[in-house]
């Protein structure tokens, strides 16, 4: 039984299929990079995978159970979701922001139960946020905020993390840092699915690569085998060269395709 599977997912908007008949099975320990051109349907597919959007056709299941049938709190405990460019709406302290990740574990009223306190410290520590513990979240730098949001996602110890463009807006250092953390999570046996724009980062850190083209699944498999110039030509309409392999791989774009 696979951890997260999609069976013939289709999402239509205005008569057009944004996600078109997509099926796959994902296992623990994988770091799946979801790539595709702008408008290929990456964000939509992630929302459906996270159970935040209902598909018009097909079904997503987590541990063999259909998402629609799951209790929302239960689902929230088992998978975490990070949208693109998450931000804090109030200047609450970092520790309180991170603790919000425990929402599905909390009773309706009252503060954080004492038993969950160590988890908070642990999550802050794991994301190197102990120094920022009491700082208002709105004053964090972009990289710090990304770490805080990651800590927020991980504090509930979910089995699956779904992140939409987790490196968007980050400088190279913080982008690399984020990728390293995501990969480490997969290394701990979690399933990580992230939409990525930077193909070099995808090539270096992901274990699997999933490419969407106009809502259809163009390719899915271990990154090393799937990421080829031919695929990039097909999906992004660019001439590209892939140099190296694994942690030292890099993707160079040579020319835009004829259709651009």
């Amino acid at each position: 039984m696979s951890r997260l599977s999609a069976a013939r997912i289709t999402v239509r908007r205005g008569g057009r299929a944004i996600v078109d008949d997509v099926s796959f099975d994902l296992e623990d320990g994988a770091f799946v990079a979801l790539v595709g051109a702008n408008g290929a349907g990456k964000s939509t597919l992630l929302s459906v995978l996270a159970g935040l959007m209902a598909a018009d056709g097909g079904a997503v299941s987590l541990d063999g159970q259909a998402l629609e049938g799951l209790d929302r709190r239960d689902l929230a405990r088992r998978r975490a979701y990070l949208p693109q460019n998450p931000r804090a709406e109030w200047p609450i302290a970092v520790e309180r922001l991170v603790a919000l990740g425990l929402t599905p574990y909390l009773p309706a009223f009252g503060g954080l139960p004492g038993g969950l306190e160590p988890r908070l410290t642990q999550a802050l520590e794991a994301c190197d946020l102990l120094d920022h513990r009491l700082q208002p979240a709105t004053t964090l730098s972009g990289g710090e905020l990304a770490r805080a949001m990651l800590a927020r996602a991980l504090i509930g110890d979910p089995q699956v993390l779904i992140a939409d463009e987790p490196t968007a807006g980050l400088d190279p250092k913080h982008a690399l840092d984020t990728m390293r953390r995501l990969k480490a999570l997969a290394g701990q046996g979690k399933l990580v699915v992230a939409a990525l724009h930077d193909l070099t980062l995808a090539a270096r850190y992901s274990t699997h690569l999933m490419a969407l083209e106009n809502g259809r699944l163009a390719a899915f498999g271990p990154t090393a085998g799937v990421l080829t110039p031919a695929l990039l030509k097909q999906v992004f309409d660019v001439e590209a060269r892939i140099v190296g392999e694994g942690p030292s791989a890099s993707v160079d774009y040579l020319a835009a395709g004829a259709g651009a």
Binding site: S47, A50, L52, R72, R73, L75, A76, R77, R79, A80, Y81, L82, P83, P86, R87, A88, E89, W90, P91, I92, A93, E95, R96, L97, A99, L100, G101, T103, P104, L106, A108, F109, G111, L112, E117, L120, P136, M149, R152
Partner: protein, 329 residues
Amino acid sequence: MRPGPAGLPTILALLVLAAAAVASVFVGRVSLSPAELTQGMFHPQTMAGLVVTELRIPRTVLAILVGASLGLSGAVLQGLLRNPLAEPGLLGVTNGAALGAVVSIYFGLSHNFGLATPLLGMAGAVAAGALTYALGRGSSLTLILAGAAASSLMAAFLALALNFAPSPYAAYEMNVWMLGSLAERSWDHVLLAAPFVAAGLAVLATMGRAVDALALGDLQAESLGIRLDRTRVLALLGVGLCVGAATSVTGAVGFIGLVAPHLIRPFVGYQPSRTLLPSALAGAALLLLADIGTRLIHTNTELRLGVLTSLLGAPFFFWLVIRVRKTAP
């Protein structure tokens, strides 16, 4: 997470509220000595007794109910919409409630069916809030614009209803409905509004977790198991219940819902859930203080409550706009 001084703002707000409540009993248009009034509390048949038990205490209780409604509604709406300018008045809810009450009172419905006024007030509040939300959801800006539109539409209907009302005093009483008043209210009014206000406050008080999670935005809140649709409906219902019932006995009182949460927020580390209860208390204290103000400032006819809250609230609003401009990216 350390527990923090969560109790402190609550205790502080409670103390101010208690002091204001006591002052409210001792201040009025007729000056009676504290001794007479204290005596009166135990001898309700004397003149001082009647003034205390039938006039000043119900007025105080009503001020607390209305102020708490506005304060808590403001805190929930600001948390829900993540908009520091949100409050029942700006979203059209208050004027909608006043419209419902006016229709009930001036066209004789309340005469035939006592609960008509709060019920129609709540219906008006929910309708106006739903209209604002339906038209304006999406961004803060569109929401505020839709709120302004719904608010002026309700005000126009209000004026229309008062124009067509058979009573010769209807147009004359327009200002009460637009500016609110606690003058000459009795236990009758308290009893009429209290059950609905209490129900509304109870609904809103359950929304702490939701407004907390919403500090992360709609998507993350939803991913944390918060049901956004249900949360919004509950908020609208809660605000409609308490603001609708409150406004139907006092008219529209502005700015309390806006100001109260802002006073509290810095003391609770800006956490939306911790803003709720203290905001209710602060709203009650603010309204009570404003009402005492209307009694202390001697004019030939009593100064309208809404005039005072607007005079105090509008500059605050300006300050808020300036601050939002500064912190906006």
